[in-house]
């Protein structure tokens, strides 16, 4: 039976309760009759032979780009950049798709007699990956062949000797990227395109860039002009990256873009019920839910976090395309839509979303309050094309414990941002004007970013900017079950139960609101008509 497309359920008296994520907890909530629940499409069929598909993509590129073997010649300098730990979510079962792609590229390079090969993790301003994380992404064979010889590096956006300023775009945007990548004869970039935002010119122009470059599109104005940043053609974030990408191309840098898409198969074994529709739960699924939810309720948060972060997604490859950046990305975007697109008729007054334990920026770490806001208002709110799922002036209700807790190793500047910045203002524009530069240039954050496993000092600002569109669009944000103090610090309203939150939302949107629940993850993209 072929996988079913996404579905919008209208809740009636016979509908079972709806599954809500609550961080590392789960709950079933009875939504009011008339509410809508948007379910993602079922996982589409994967490619049966990923390695063959990868080889085919490399030898039959799209757009104005020669096949990879033709681009590989002895004596050349080859750099292979790859997406970092933020993709995919959750981390996928071994072998990671990056490993499969890079092994093929390396085989071709070896066959062509290319000796000068280096691998670069395209961190942008993300934290450096740990050795186990790199081994997971690349496989032990690649890691052991490159890392001990200094040929596997992680992009350092704060190393001036390792950056090259290529010029400015027509809008005056600085383009400054990794020197090794810029000075290579060929730059191969290996993507995992989990959502439509990923990939395209954003890969190099963001992943290998410096703060000087990134600040041109990671700012409140750009984010508010990106509606949404999952829709390239209405996204100023993408427009800026495309201008930069074209300048990179004009600078003579040859990018061989490889983009991969994965299916929606997100949760393994005991957690399969998480990606099923509740009315189709069988006894095993109900038992799975009961066992998981009861066990998690009695598990200390730290242990529950460890359990969930050990989950490896059984994602499978659904497409791989390679060649010239823009041509590749157009095909990739269509593939992501094929897996995640759901047509939704009209907007809603209230959008509910259960926030899971993970976002791109807390793999193996804590989803701190800023990341809670970003996951809900930055990512899930923006999973739309045409119009936001919730109307202007509407309310988003998120469920998450939102603990006042931070990982001091991964998110040191987040702690200060939460204490110092959000206690002053939650307005993204004021936040940027008053605080961004001092955080971006703070030598301690720079030191931790460069030598430890810390996100760059400016990163919490970017997370807050991701929320800018939602913050200006919404009439209110309510967090159910969150630490009230932390929730208020974010500028949101706390509620102890979903029923209370719905009553509070009525104060904003009126007494007879429409309600839509975003049943994710697995991820979906709403095409709002």
């Amino acid at each position: 039976m072929s996988p079913r497309p996404g579905f919008v359920l209208e809740v009636d008296g016979s509908s079972p309760p709806t599954l809500f994520w609550h961080g590392e907890r789960l709950s079933l909530e009875q939504l009011p009759p008339g509410s809508r629940v948007i379910y993602p499409p079922e996982p589409i069929d994967p490619l049966q032979d990923p390695v063959t598909a990868i080889r085919a993509a490399l030898t039959h590129p799209v757009g104005d780009r020669d096949p990879l073997p033709a681009l590989l010649v002895p004596g050349m300098k080859l750099t292979i950049a790859f997406d970092d730990i933020s993709l995919p979510l959750p981390p996928m079962e071994r072998p990671d798709i990056r490993q499969l792609v890079i092994e093929e590229v390396l085989d071709l390079a070896a066959g062509a007699g290319v000796d000068d090969v280096a691998l670069v993790a395209a961190l942008a301003l993300h934290r450096r990956m740990t050795e186990p994380e790199l081994r997971h992404a690349l496989g032990d064979r690649i890691y052991d062949a490159f890392a001990p010889f200094g040929l596997l590096s992680q992009h350092d956006a704060e190393d001036p000797t390792n950056l090259v300023h290529l010029g400015c775009t027509s809008r005056g945007e600085d383009v400054e990227i990794n020197r090794r990548a810029a000075e290579s004869d060929l730059l191969v970039y290996v993507n995992i395109n989990l959502v439509t935002m990923d990939g395209g010119h954003k890969s190099v122009a963001t992943g290998l860039a410096s703060y000087k470059s990134l600040r041109h599109h990671h700012n409140p104005a750009t984010m508010q002009a990106s509606r949404s940043f999952m829709d390239q053609h209405r996204s100023e974030l993408h427009s800026s990256n495309w201008r930069m990408g074209r300048l990179i191309a004009e600078s003579g840098i040859t990018v061989f873009q490889i983009e991969t898409t994965l299916n929606n198969d997100t949760f393994p074994g005991a957690f399969r019920f998480l990606q099923k529709r509740e009315w189709e739960w069988r006894g095993k699924d109900r038992l799975g839910y009961l066992a998981a939810s009861k066990a998690l309720d009695g598990t200390p948060p730290r242990l529950a976090r460890r359990i969930f972060h050990s989950v490896r997604a059984p994602h499978r490859l659904t497409s791989v395309q390679a060649g010239e950046v823009e041509s590749v990305h157009e095909l990739t975007t269509a593939q992501v839509w094929r897996q995640q697109g759901v047509v939704v008729e009209g907007q809603t007054d209230i959008l509910t979303m259960g926030l899971p334990y993970i976002s791109p920026y807390n793999v193996n770490s804590i989803l701190n309050p800023i990341l809670v806001a970003c996951l809900g208002l930055g990512y899930l709110f923006n999973l739309y094309r045409n119009k936001p799922l919730v109307r202007e002036g509407g309310v988003v209700i998120m469920t998450h414990p939102t603990p006042w807790a931070f990982d001091p190793v991964h998110h040191p500047s987040y702690i200060d941002f939460f204490e110092e910045v959000l206690s002053e203002t939650t307005d993204p524009t004021l936040v940027a004007e008053r605080f961004e530069e001092s955080y971006a240039t703070d030598p301690w954050y720079i030191h931790l970013y460069r030598t430890g496993h810390a996100y760059h000092g400016v990163h919490p600002f970017y997370m807050w900017y991701w929320c800018a569109h939602a913050l200006s669009h919404l009439g209110g944000v309510i967090v159910v079950g969150g630490d009230p103090k932390a929730v208020r610090r974010l500028g949101f309203r706390p509620a102890s139960a979903l029923e209370d939150a719905l009553e509070m939302a009525k104060d904003v949107v009126g007494p007879t609101p429409t309600l839509t629940h975003l049943h994710a993850p697995p991820l979906l993209m709403a095409d709002v008509q």
Partner: protein, 411 residues
């Protein structure tokens, strides 16, 4: 006439020390402090005047005394029995003369500068510190014509503010209170003078980051003094670590640039100074740090956030503390005490001026009267002292005794 009298009684002293383990101020119920019928003290000389207290504050040093936690250092600098209370606003029913030698009419409202230095003790010639006006540095506080007592409120011969029988004050101690002052504003002049003295003695440099650890009365008056008297010439940045919400609101209102919870102080100093962190310690830090608490913890916190060659000023009264002084040695920090008041050569022009005069000018514009949170009659001294001992937790700052028998008030 009633007064709270502190007697030498070792058994009660031990009991108060034990009771204070339950909370600051608890020593009042079982300790050497008792409410007794007393007579008005007799002026010990011609330059002394009778003062009828209206309000008298409870300060940290009073609480330490009541709880038996004061340093033994002070054992020979007091005379028993004494009536505590050195923060006093009162009435000169018979008139008098102030520190300038100006006659004050009967009914004049005054505050006292409580240090009992060479002049009140009739010591001629006065010591060099008193000669220069730095009465807080007087070394003769246990000799001369009075019994030992570093201040009014610790001397058997002068009485103290916690008394409806009144006290006696030497003319050199007397400062007239402007008509525009409320009694609450007047009673805060003495702690304000301590804040003024600390702020001006510290040597704050241009552009310095100045940190105030603790936002009780002393911390807040120090903030006000820094804002009004030091910032105009130094453009310093004032960062306050305060434990309680109301303290943070007060600190902000009094002129602090940044106010953070106490446990965020080091983090905030690091941010402000762009410091790195090595082994959990900042590599940079503030230029001047005022410790307005006086505990081992607060002094350690102060040392931890002071930059190399910076200054730590102990404003809150410490007792025996346990400290790792390695950072003080290694970073060449200056650790200085700030006791009471005197003459301030670094005051804004026209300097020098007396700390008390500067405080009298400061209290009204800074709105320091708002720090008085609760007033109790003497009869409820146990409640008053318990309240003062838990002031921060209970949303209060300065707790006072109301000797004028006005209706008890609190805010």
């Amino acid at each position: 006439m009633k007064a709270l009298v502190f007697e030498r009684n070792l058994t009660r002293f031990a009991a108060s020390r034990a009771a204070s383990l339950l909370g600051s101020g608890r020593g009042a119920a079982v300790g050497p402090l008792r409410l007794l019928d007393v007579s008005a003290p007799v002026p010990p000389g011609e330059d002394w005047h009778r003062l009828r207290p209206l309000l008298s504050g409870i300060c940290g040093s009073d609480l330490a005394t009541v709880d038996g936690r004061s340093s033994r250092y002070f054992a020979d600098l007091v005379s028993f029995p004494f009536v505590p209370g050195h923060e006093v606003v009162g009435i000169l029913d018979d008139g008098g003369v102030d520190h300038r030698g100006e006659a004050l009419a009967p009914g004049s409202r005054v505050v006292i500068e409580p240090v009992l230095g060479c002049l009140p003790r009739n010591i001629e010639p006065p010591c060099p510190r008193c000669e220069a006006g730095h009465t807080g540095g007087c070394g003769n506080v246990a000799i001369g014509s009075l019994g030992p007592g570093l201040q009014t409120g610790y001397c058997a011969d002068t009485g103290g503010g916690w008394s409806s029988a009144g006290l006696v004050a030497h003319a050199s101690q007397i400062h007239r209170v402007p008509e525009s002052f409320s009694d609450e504003e007047a009673v805060i002049v003495e702690p304000a003078a301590c804040g003024v003295h600390a702020a001006l003695a510290a040597g704050v440099g241009t552009g310095d980051l100045v940190v105030v650890v603790g936002a009780g009365t002393l911390g807040l008056t120090t903030v006000a003094a820094l804002h009004h008297l030091v910032r105009p010439t130094t453009s310093c940045t004032i960062l306050v670590g305060a434990k309680y919400d109301h303290q943070r609101r007060h600190a902000q209102a009094l002129g602090a640039d940044i106010v953070v919870p106490s446990d965020q102080l080091a983090r905030s100093v690091r941010r402000r100074t762009g410091s790195l962190v090595v082994g959990g310690r900042l590599t940079e830090g503030a230029g001047v740090v005022f410790d307005c608490v006086g505990s081992s913890r607060s002094i350690a916190d102060a040392l931890a956030v002071t930059g190399p060659r910076g200054t730590v000023v102990l404003v809150g009264m410490p007792a025996e503390v346990s400290l790792d002084l390695a950072p003080l040695w290694h970073r060449e920090l200056r650790l200085m005490g700030s006791y009471a008041y005197g003459v301030e050569p670094s005051a804004p022009a026209p300097a020098p001026r007396r700390s008390f005069d500067l405080a009298l000018d400061l209290v009204h514009p800074a709105g320091l009267g708002s720090l008085v949170s609760a007033a109790y009659p003497l009869e409820r001294f146990e409640d008053a002292l318990t309240h003062a001992g838990s002031a921060g937790r209970r949303g209060a700052t300065k707790v006072v005794f109301d000797l004028a028998n006005r209706k008890g008030s609190s805010r």
